[in-house]
Subunit: 151 residues, 2 copies
């Protein structure tokens, strides 16, 4: 555990490396659940999940919340509108930025995915006790705060 800061780098303990690996693997495995079964891309699912949790938002807000590119969000929103999974209503405060929210159908879809998601995560963390998971998420959030300071 004592490392020589000058010449050694242990990738297993280097967070940009190991977090990326694990996050990609998680995302790949979990996304199988909704991609095939519900025909959603990753950005589409992320938008639905955010609208479900936080309610009416603009595209810009979705970009910031889920750290997605504006082009990516624009395309995903377009497709979700076509499929009537979300609705857009004019924003009285800004005509450029319409307010997006889940449609009834979108809500129904979300309600189908949620139990699968919770079940999937329950499996993932089954090796961890409650306290360890809580601690992990708390540390994650500290790291996230730190990263956002430098932005």
């Amino acid at each position: 555990m004592t490392t020589d800061n000058q010449t050694t780098l242990d990738l297993k303990q280097f967070l940009p490396y190991s977090l990326t690996n694990i996050a990609m693997q998680m995302s790949e495995q979990f996304s199988e659940l909704y991609q095939q079964q519900f025909d959603l891309t990753v950005p589409q699912w992320r938008i639905i999940a955010n609208l479900a949790q936080y309610g009416e938002r603009t595209a810009k807000e979705l970009c910031d919340m889920a750290r997605m590119d504006k082009s990516t969000v624009s395309r995903a929103v377009k497709s979700l509108l076509t499929r009537n999974l979300i609705t857009a209503k004019e924003n009285p405060k800004d005509k450029r930025a319409s307010l997006l929210s889940l449609s009834v159908e979108g809500n129904r879809l979300h309600e189908q995915i949620v139990p699968l998601a919770n079940e999937w995560q329950a499996g993932l963390v089954s090796d961890l006790d409650r306290q360890e998971l809580k601690q992990f998420i708390s540390t994650l959030s500290k790291l996230s705060n730190h990263l956002n300071k430098n932005v």
Copy 2:
């Protein structure tokens, strides 16, 4: 903390979502360090770091170690060979899979990046005490093991 498994999903606590966000942000911020200064892409850096830590490997092994696509690795290796940052020698056990390792120049490059990387991570985890970081990495590794079981 008591969540209704059937209808609610808290994205902040949902790991495929929040880990992906944080990992992407980390990777973006850290990669600025080597992309501009040393003209390396992410896959190129990951290959260099793995060869430095683990020594001589084949392309296939690099794919598995860093969870990269074989095409991505193939292209990155090609470019690193052109720039003489790595060398390839024939593998006596398998003529298809040549053994890749860092060249003197590649090693020199790596030695320049390592202190920057350690410094960067030291900043990142400066809000955490030693024990919390240790615990975090240990949990990460448990999660990683779990994910690999299902593969």
